[in-house]
Symmetry: C2
Subunit: 120 residues, 2 copies
Amino acid sequence: MERLRFSADAAFTPRDPLLDGITIAPLTAPFESGCPVQAAIFRVAPGGRIARHRPNNGTQILAVLEGSGQISGADGELHPITAGEAVFWSEGEEHEMQSETGLTALILEAEELRPWRNRP
Amino acid sequence: MERLRFSADAAFTPRDPLLDGITIAPLTAPFESGCPVQAAIFRVAPGGRIARHRPNNGTQILAVLEGSGQISGADGELHPITAGEAVFWSEGEEHEMQSETGLTALILEAEELRPWRNRP
């Protein structure tokens, strides 16, 4: 058993021009270490965002834990997203995320994630 | 882009004798579908628990998002855990989790997760 922390005081501010007003608290070691999944808690300050980009890390699930914002996928159309909602982006799908009021999200990345499908 | 929900109303109550007072809202499709990772939000009611067991799904990370409880690993000794803290259990490591007051946790399972290591 090994313990770790992902509270705000355990987070770091990434140097990434795509990320604005965001801190990251990882749960897993980086891909480079051989971990097949990356999971991290992203805290987005009011007005913060992940700028539109085409990812090169396979598939992704973003799950909003607190707060709300807007996301888009391949077509670039922004849709609202709030706590309790998640989004799956397929491999190489261009996307973005922004929040006027701030949010906290889990981001999961792996080569071949498959999203849960809720019953209609 | 595909959307999904993991709010309390999207959760189900698992029929698993190891799980007591728990609902599950998955983020990913099951292992059986070919997804290499399982991620789900577990909501534990006051007095609820994951009974002590030896898992057969590889490694696991449990991250407490809200509330608090107690966890143990191979040695069976219970330790407190609270929101912002996570625990990594290695492959086949016997473990348990319980909460007197209730908690919400993310559980990640995969063959070879590696936990993030906070700077001391």
